[in-house]
């Protein structure tokens, strides 16, 4: 077996993403695994291992559209439990941001984000929506101020 080469440039990249720098505090205790529902329901998802791979700079494994990180439930149990304030879920989201930077987001996320940026809402208003709202006596949904939204994220 060949010895793996450590690549710390990956960690430096991650440090630049909001919340990514907290990965440095991980001492691999595994508290996150004990409370993680994705770890419970999956054979291969393990937040401690994701943090270890991050610390070792295993970018190829982590930064992919089919990376294990996408199975995170985003439940924040690890954030709640971590004794080191690693905020593992936030590190995982920072890893996802690196996926976005490198153009390897899963298709669903791209589609969802495009809808949000185009309309200001994450759910598309179909013709039946306002009809149903009218039946319920609710006010009609108007377009939101999407121009402001687009301006601030330019």
């Amino acid at each position: 077996m060949t010895q793996r080469k450590l690549d710390f440039s990956f960690r430096e990249k991650l440090n630049k993403i909001v919340g990514g720098n907290h990965h440095n505090y991980c001492y691999q205790c595994g508290s996150c695994v004990a409370v993680c529902p994705a770890a419970r329901f999956s054979d291969d998802f393990n937040p401690r291992e994701i943090l270890l791979k991050t610390l070792l700079g295993e970018e190829e494994d982590l930064i992919r559209s089919d990376s294990i990180i996408w199975k995170c439930t985003n439940c924040y149990s690890c954030y709640e439990r971590c004794p080191q304030d690693v905020r593992p879920v936030e590190v995982i989201i920072a890893l996802k941001n690196l996926c976005a930077e490198q153009g390897v987001l899963p298709g669903d996320i791209n589609k969802f984000s495009e809808t949000l940026i185009k309309t200001g809402r994450s759910v598309i208003i179909t013709s039946t929506v306002n009809r149903r709202r009218q039946e319920l006596g609710l006010p009609e949904l108007k377009d939101v101020n999407v121009k402001e939204l687009q301006t601030i994220i330019e």
Partner: protein, 303 residues
């Protein structure tokens, strides 16, 4: 006479578009307890704390800060109806308070639209407002058809409570917020082993989300609940539609009505199921209505 509460409702995206029955139940029930909802028309998506945040945290934070600034400008505090919106807005507030450089960076972007996030606005999920500002006593006074004998399986969902460092709402392991509110309606909250399990919606996997949903139902059924009570439209999607999927893919029918808290409140305040939009749910509430002695009005079926 209690002081009138006035707040800006942050409806989010899922509720007004996919589940307007929840909005209906909020509007109807808040009227009964003198909570004035001041609709602001400048809010956008919160934005969502899972998909959009995965794309770009800074963009996510900036859009959230704009929404907060909209409420600050109007001089209104925000009440949220969805745990996801609550999570995004409270986490944004936390991050911007924690890191002044980040706050300046975000405010530089908001300057382009002549807005500024100051940090003064309060954000509360509607059940937190009910507990802290309205109070159990006022809720009880609004009730004329207590849900006596109805056993409610509580599902907290993840984003209302965690991380408690940010949310500051309740003990994340032993919460009592929903138990107390359900009790105020005359119903019996039942605890069950998977009360705090994630609904699974945020996990991008073909099998796992439904397996989690299944476990929650199995847990609730084992203690004999009559319905499920929850506070988040994303969880609702997992459990209402999820029951149909479980019946199809896992061959087990739970047949448990899934009810948003303000719909339960509405039933207890004497509204008919269709007045709080329960006729739009996949699993109907006829049996609950029988239990509280209000079965004479048949449910209108809407395709």
């Amino acid at each position: 006479m209690a002081k009138k509460i006035s707040v800006a409702p942050f409806w989010g995206c899922m509720i007004p578009v996919k589940y307007p029955q929840m909005e209906l139940s909020v509007r109807k029930t808040m009227e009964q307890i003198d909570v004035e909802l001041v609709d602001l028309d400048q809010f956008t998506c919160c934005p969502d704390p899972i998909y959009f945040k995965a794309r770009d945290k800074i963009q996510w934070l900036t859009i959230a800060a704009r929404n907060l600034a909209v409420a600050e400008e109007a001089g209104q505090d925000i009440v949220t109806m969805c745990s996801g919106c609550t999570s995004t807005l409270l986490e944004a507030k936390f991050m911007l308070a924690e890191d002044s450089k980040l706050k300046n960076q975000v405010n530089e972007k908001l300057k382009k639209i002549n807005k500024e996030y100051k940090g003064t606005v309060k954000v509360k999920h509607i059940v937190v407002m009910l507990r802290d500002d309205v109070g159990v006593q006022r809720i009880k006074e609004s009730i004329n058809r207590p849900l006596i004998g109805v056993k409610v399986g509580i599902h907290y969902g993840c984003h209302l409570l965690k991380p408690s460092q940010i949310m500051h709402i309740d003990d994340a392991d032993y919460p009592s917020l929903l138990e107390n509110l359900i009790q105020a309606l005359g119903a019996t909250p039942l605890t069950h082993r998977e009360k705090l399990l994630c609904c699974g919606k945020g996990c991008m996997d073909d099998e796992m989300p439904l397996e989690m949903t299944y476990e929650v139902f199995d847990s609730m059924e084992s203690v004999g609940v009559d319905c499920m009570g929850l506070i988040c439209p994303t969880c609702f999607n997992s459990f209402d539609m999820g029951q149909i999927l479980i019946a199809r893919k896992m061959n087990r029918e739970f047949n448990l009505p899934v009810i948003y808290f303000c719909q339960l409140l509405g039933l207890a305040q004497g509204f008919a199921p269709e007045e709080v939009g329960l006729h739009l749910h996949r699993i109907k509430v006829d049996r609950i209505m029988e239990m509280i002695g209000a079965s004479e009005k048949p449910l209108e079926m809407v395709a």
